[in-house]
């Protein structure tokens, strides 16, 4: 058996209030991760309670769209948000600790922003 997991859609405008509500309801921040889509990105905010994983998903239309930080209402989010900013180049507004792009040392800016190459061998 692998632990239960659900994914729910969320928006840029309601993500802070929804994260705050989950956090107040006793859900522990498990991870925040970013996945590149054709033009933008999906940001997954995963919370754990009693071994159940609940994920809120915000879809960004482009990598230039600003993401509001949830670290003011859920402190452990700060390093996930810095990671997303550094690797994908997505601007995150209002982080509790903002490394201003220096969280990771990188040879190239936003190295994960490049979409996956088309593969011929499938």
């Amino acid at each position: 058996m692998i632990s239960e997991s659900t994914i729910e859609p969320a928006t840029v405008s309601d993500i802070v209030t929804r994260v705050e509500a989950l956090y107040r309801d006793g859900w522990r921040l498990a991870q925040i991760g970013c996945t590149r889509t054709a033009d933008g990105a999906e940001i997954n905010y995963s919370f754990d309670k009693a071994l159940t994983l609940r994920t809120l998903r915000v879809t960004l239309k482009s990598l230039q769209e600003t993401l509001p930080s949830v670290s003011r209402v859920c402190f452990p989010a700060f390093h996930y948000e810095n990671e997303i900013h550094d690797l994908f180049g997505i601007p995150v507004d209002g982080m509790a600790i903002d490394y201003k792009g220096d969280f990771y040392r990188k040879a190239h800016p936003a190295p994960f922003a490049k979409p996956p190459e088309e593969k011929k061998d499938v």
């Binding site: 991870q31 590149r36 452990p76 220096d102 990188k106």
Partner: protein
């Protein structure tokens, strides 16, 4: 108010096998605030998933870390199997549990040695690593490697271990357990060790949970959560309860890891008792499709793999959230209020694995 200074700690420091940096704001000798910095050796391994096909990537997943190698390979394999809607055969599931627990033993013994070295108890360090060598010998005997197991693959495992060897390994482990208890008793009862660890870096149950702490860091604050409780592989058929400690300090984290050594030996013995005959892998057909989250319990705590596939032999995205990354906010909470001399010990109580964090 005393004089405030900022002391840089790391990235190179005698207690740090891998680079992490902390800016420590001190008032006299007391830490007021700590600002972490990682990313000195970030490798971008997640991006490699676009170039290595889903079966080859097991080798990359194992190389995320040399200490948690097997469980990285296992977690990746579980994710790929979930996307392909297949399940490894029962014998492979038991072997995965056995190797996972052997990996936990060597990791905790490694940490005990590093910890003893950090608080200046050299003979304890040597004894911990002496026992660890015996565990590495078991790994070498059963997989051919001492660091990277390469025994897990999508759909099962690469090697079998015959039942006689498994029984002998359990007998050997029971002998090693006596030595572990002798060393563990020094950790838990020696007055100089207790003086160094008790009451240092206290994290309450509520704080540990709210800050997203995982693994021994969480359980040492009396929160009984262990991903093995979800029953992945065949953990659901084995009898165990999370090892917890009520104190939430550096000593408690030490006690939890030592308790988990004995628990791992018990889990290996139970798995060997219950292991079934049969195949060790299944034939793979088609390519992974869809997305999933998979969580397992590494020696340092919960690891999360997110995998997304599009029906080709290359995954579209693989995201790995490692336990050390999750424990950073909890470390930042522990440090304020401690003495500068306690910082190396406190950093080590997280059992930081920067190689994992810099995946």
């Amino acid at each position: 108010m005393g004089m405030r200074t900022i002391i840089p700690f790391g990235p190179q420091h005698p207690v740090l096998p891998e680079p992490i940096h902390l800016d420590l704001v001190l008032e006299d000798e007391k830490v007021i605030e700590a600002i972490p910095r990682i990313g000195f050796i970030h490798r971008g391994l997640e991006k490699l998933v676009e170039k290595k096909d889903y079966q080859e990537f097991v080798y990359v997943a194992e190389r995320i870390c040399g200490i948690c190698a097997f469980i990285h390979g296992l977690t990746y394999s579980l994710a790929a199997e979930k996307l392909m809607n297949i399940e490894a055969p029962r014998r492979a599931q038991f072997l995965r549990v056995i190797w996972s627990e052997i990996a936990r033993l060597q990791s905790h013994l490694l940490w005990m040695g590093l910890m003893a070295d950090a608080f200046g108890f050299e003979s304890l360090f040597m004894h911990s690593w002496r026992i660890r060598e015996k565990i590495l010998n078991i790994i070498e005997e059963t997989t051919g490697g001492r660091v990277i197991f390469s025994s897990c693959k999508v759909g099962g495992v690469r090697y079998d271990i015959d039942n006689d060897t498994l029984k002998r390994i359990v007998r050997d482990l029971k002998e090693y357990e006596k030595e572990m208890r002798a060393v563990g008793d020094v950790f838990l009862k020696d007055s100089s060790v207790r003086h160094r660890l008790c009451g240092v870096g206290v994290l309450s149950k509520e704080e540990a949970y709210r800050l997203g702490a995982v693994g021994p860091m969480l359980r040492a604050s009396n929160f009984a959560q262990d991903l093995r409780q979800t029953g992945y592989c065949v953990y659901g058929e084995l009898d165990f309860a999370p090892v917890v400690h009520p104190d939430g300090d550096a000593y408690a984290r030490c006690a939890v890891r030592i308790g988990e050594l004995y628990q791992s030996i018990s889990l290996i013995a139970q798995a060997v008792d219950k292991i079934e005959e049969g195949p060790i892998d299944v034939k793979l057909r088609g390519f992974p499709t869809g997305e999933c989250f998979v969580r397992t319990e590494q020696p340092r705590g919960e690891v999360i793999y997110y995998a997304k596939a599009n029906g080709t032999k290359f995954l579209e995205r693989l995201r790995v959230r490692t336990p050390t990354f999750a424990n950073i906010p909890a470390l930042l909470k522990c440090l304020p209020g401690c003495e500068l001399a306690d910082v190396p010990v406190l950093v080590l109580t997280v059992d930081p694995c920067i190689s994992c964090t810099e995946r």
